[in-house]
Each structure stands twice: as C-alpha cells, then as structure tokens.
Amino acid sequence: MKTGWIKILLLFCSLQVFSQQLEDKLWQAGFENVLIQEQRDSLNVFFENREFRNPGHSIYFAELISGKETEINNTNITWLPLYHNKLVGAYEASSFQLTTISQQQREFFNRNNKPFKNYRFSFRLHPEVVSRFGYYSDPFETKFNMILDTRVYLAQGLSLQTGITIPIVNNLDNHGMKLRAAPTMLHYFTQPWNAHFFSFSAGTFYNDRYGFDLEYRYDQLDSSWSFGFAVGLTGFYRLYGLEYSSEPMDKLYGVVDVEWRTGIENTSLKLSAGQFLYEDRGARLDLIKQFPMAEIGLFAARTDIGTSGGFQFAFSLWPGKIIRGKKLELRTTEEFRWEYTYNNEDPVARQFRIGMPRLSDVLRNYNEAWIKQLGN
C-alpha cells in the first residue's frame, strides 16, 4: 500500500519535472506560448509556432523534442497547436489523430493564455512581389518590396500587424521608391465552437486595398469537405512615403466556396463563386496540391470581366529563423504566396491579400490527413 502511494507520488513528480523541461526545450526551439496541462497520466501541450507554415511540422518537431527527453513513454501527450493565439485542433501524439477540443482544455487555455507575456517580439521579413509578364518591351515588369513587419497579440485571438515597406525595384507602376508603412491591420481570429472559424480584419491590406474583411469557415479538420464565405468592403489606397491617397471605401465583395480533399496525392479542389473584387461576378475553380515545402495551385476562372487561368504557390522563405533571443526574434516569413494570372489585361476573379493567409489556406494544413502525412 505504502509503496503504491510512493510510486504515484514519484510518477507525479517526474511528470512535473518532465513537463517543466519540455516547456523550456520547446521555448528554446522557437515555440511560443507553451502551456502544459498535467493530468493523471497525460499531458496536454499547447503551443504556437510562427516559424513553420505547416502545423504538421511543428507538431512533429515538438514530438521529437519531447521524445528525446523522456523515459515516461506511457504518458499520453495531446498536442494543441495555436494559430494567432487561438486553439485550432487537438492531435494525439504519435498517431496524430485529431480529437475534439474538450471544455477542460478550453478552460485551461483561457486561464493560462497570456497574449503579451508568452510571446517573443517577432519580426519577420516578407517580400512583396507584383509582376506582369509578357510585354515585349519589358517581359518581366516587377514591383519588388521588402516588408519588415511584426504581429503583436493584444488579447486572445486579437492581434495588430504592422511594419515598414522598403521598395527595392519598381518598373511596373508609379508607386515610387519611398519608404512607407506596410499593411497595418487589426485582426481577430476565433473558433467559438469546434469547427466554426471566423477571421475579421480591419485596416490597410495588400494589393492596394483598405477596409474591412470577414471570413467564416466550417471545417471539421478530419473531414474531406469544408466550406466558407468571405465578405469585405474595401477601397483603393496608396502611400507615397508619408503622403496618402485613397478612393472611397465602396467596393463590396462576397464569395462562397466549398473545398474537397480528393484523397489523391494530397490534392484538393475548391470551387468559389460570387462577387469578386471590382464587382466582378463569376466563379473560380482551384486545384491545390500540398507538398511539405510548398503549396502549388492551378486555377481557372470565368467572370463578367472575362476568362483567366493561372497558378499560385506558397512556401516558407529560407532560412526561417535568423536571430532568436529570449524575447526577440527575426525571421523570414512562414508563408510567401504568389499568384500568376494568365490574363494580364483584365482583373478576372481577383482577390486581395490580408495580413494572414485566407482561412481555407490556413486550415488546409491542419487537416488530419495532412498532419499524419507530415508526421511520418
């Protein structure tokens, strides 16, 4: 009887030591907001990793770090990766099985989450490339800026993104070469009920737009179907150094979409329809392939304005981490996304970029099938 109690006590102590060590190791490896909920024979590990584009990689990384430390292999770990200071999903260690986020886990997170204190000041380098190919006089017309920006969490799920834009090359338009403020916006991301995701942004965006943007997505993360909508009211703006010019915020867009994971070699099909930017009504079909290092998509679109097709790709920029201290970090962007449109005259089915990837692009990487693939 007595030895039984001692065993339990020892187990409990070693679990505590283990989780403290794990927390430190993860923080040093670049993870942020690492919270560990200890239960009788299991651990719930919450973390955010802003360096990697794929949560599959950060979960696998966390698992490598934990595995090295411990002999307590019968401890069940559940990984709860955060995105923008919010819970997205819960994945069991080693099997990478998706489990429902429990009320207990939510409450623990709400109690212990410290949006400001648990994060580093993270600065990120992010190139912005706008180009048009195909004109004989100058086949590669390009506007290339380097953006140094940061995201600061103000409250749970609420963040401010801001930075500066450093123009490097511009033979595309008359935007000039003056240093200017990078897209600056308030952003709120949340999952009030499991599988229902919302993302709201207000401020200045990419592609010379400013205004409001709201996205909703229903995604169970272990299903091959997901759907959502996006609406926004925006206008054109440009900064020339400190000078500002803008048009009224009167362009409304609203697009619904449904996405299906085909089950064939990590490809997905996505059909979007509605009113795109510039009050352009029509539909767009995307074929998206996920690679561990990148996402490559093909699309075709037909709208009032015309017909187009093209491709897009997204990848993390090398090298990732540049400098990392206790409270400060400089890194390259976790996701650089670029789209090429075959129709270089008319803006067919055009969208604009907000400060974070669109919800469908974020959640695609949290799909259980994909997480499992990256973990193995």
């Binding site: 195909g134 004989y136 086949p139 561990p292 290092m293 993390s316 090398w318 981490k321 075959y342 005259e345």
Partner: protein
C-alpha cells in the same frame, strides 16, 4: 541470336534514378522533343533555354529566343508547364504587345514497366490568337539499362492541327481548327512523327539525338548535381542552343527541424 540480345536488354533493367534532362520548354525531354519521363522526386522545375533564331519555332520572325519555363508535377500523373518566350530583338522593334506564353499539361497514361514503355499525353489548352508553340502529342518512352550505360528511346506523334481563336472575337470558345502548315504563323512545332534517343554511359552525362518532326538535332548533357542539368545542342549542325534546368524537391522539412534531426543522429 537476336532474341537473346533482346532478352539480355530486357533482363538487365535496374531501378531508374530520376531522369532529369529537360527540353527547351522545361519538360522532361531531349532538345526540342519531350519524353515520357516523370520527375517524381523533383516536382518543381525551372528552366532557361536559348534558341538560335533560325530554329526558334517562331516561323515568321527568325530572331533568337530565350525561354523561361516552369514545371510543376502536381501528381504522379498530371503536370503543368508554363513558358515565357522572350525575344530580345523583337522587344526592340515592337515597343508593346503581349508576349508569347505557353501553358500546357502533361498526363501520364501509363508508367514504365518491365516490358512496356511509359506513355504520356501532352495538351495545350486552345484559346491563343497566335499559337506558335501549341503542341498536342502522344508519346512513349522506354529505358534500357545495359552494362554499358542507359539507353532511352522515345517515339511520338504530334497533332498537325491547331485551334485558333478568331481574331477580334471576345468569346474564349470562338475557335477554328486549322492545319498547322496552313496557318500563316509558319510554326510547326511537333507536327507529325518525332523520335529521340539518348545514351548515358554514366549517371551524370550523356548524348542525345532527335528528329523533332522538322529537323535533326543532336546534343550533350551533364548533371553536375542532382538538381542541375546543363545541355548544349545543335540544330542540323548549323546553329547552336543551350538549356539549363533546375529540378527541385519539395519534400524537405524546415531548416531548423532538419538541423535538430541532424543533431539527434
């Protein structure tokens, strides 16, 4: 005796490494002709190619062409290619005008098996007003691994017809079908039978010869690294061109994760 030699060829197969040579438009292939090889491990290709004016495919205007091409193998049976053709001399004369871009797809209908060749279908979506580079083809490629190196044979047929978008028409679907030889573009890339052969005594280098349905061409290639292939070729021994292709893997983990894994080992 002949059947024995054949048997010897057939029995001396080994697992083939990814075969990274690309043609002028960045597809797996030789000089102008494509092959049915599939670069599964390296799904992303970026290729630069310089063509001499006389053999530039832009029949009417014989000026040098630089091709910038991108290839993405989205699945093990579906691939997309985009090429942008830059003609420096033409750029000087005409200050404006949409350039020549070529978007096309490749479908692998069957993988290479012990006794069967790989079969690929190539298709250019119609819709261009000036489809100089359009090519629709069906081809088969077979590799033979011998003690003296690898021999690769390709035979294919390119459609002699082309879809033209009617000039001035707004509709994407307002197309007419014409024989390539009757279109005044004077461009007949891969129109009719074509074939190619390459011989690689070592993994990293080889020679090749092709008939691209218009001319007989020959060249050499080297692969100093797995991700880089360089080649020089000649068209009918009259003019020269060269191609450099990067073929990249997309399955690596992020750098810091890899560094950690390396430390663990």
């Amino acid at each position: 005796m002949r059947s024995r030699i054949l048997l010897f060829f057939l029995l001396s197969f080994l697992a083939f490494k990814s075969l990274a040579q690309v043609n002028i438009m960045g597809k797996p292939g030789y000089i102008n002709t494509p092959s049915a090889n599939w670069n599964t491990d390296r799904p992303l290709g970026i290729t630069f190619s310089h063509l001499p004016g006389d053999y530039s495919m832009f029949g009417n205007e014989k000026t040098d062409v630089n091709f910038y091409s991108f290839r993405a193998s989205l699945t093990s049976f579906f691939e997309v290619n985009l090429s942008v053709a830059h003609r420096p001399a033409k750029a000087e004369i005409d200050k404006l005008g949409v350039g020549d871009r070529q978007l096309d797809f490749r479908f692998r209908l069957s993988k290479e098996r012990e006794f069967l060749p790989a079969i690929v279908l190539g298709w250019t979506p119609p819709g261009s007003v000036a489809p100089y580079l359009t090519h629709d083809y069906l081809l088969a490629t077979k590799n033979f691994k011998t003690n003296l190196g690898r021999l690769q044979l390709t035979v294919g047929f390119g459609s002699p017809y082309v879809f033209l978008k009617k000039t001035g028409s707004d509709s994407y679907f307002d197309l007419e079908i014409k024989k390539k030889s009757q279109v005044n573009l004077n461009a007949e890339y891969l129109s009719g039978f074509f074939s190619a052969i390459s011989y690689s005594p070592v993994d990293f280098a080889g020679v090749m010869m092709e008939y691209d349905s218009n001319s007989l061409n020959g060249g050499i290639y080297i692969k100093p690294f797995n991700w880089l292939s360089l080649q020089a070729h000649t068209y009918e021994a009259k003019a020269w061109g060269f191609t450099a292709g990067l073929n990249l893997s997309l399955s690596k983990s992020p750098k810091s994760l890899r560094a950690y894994e390396d430390r663990m080992d």
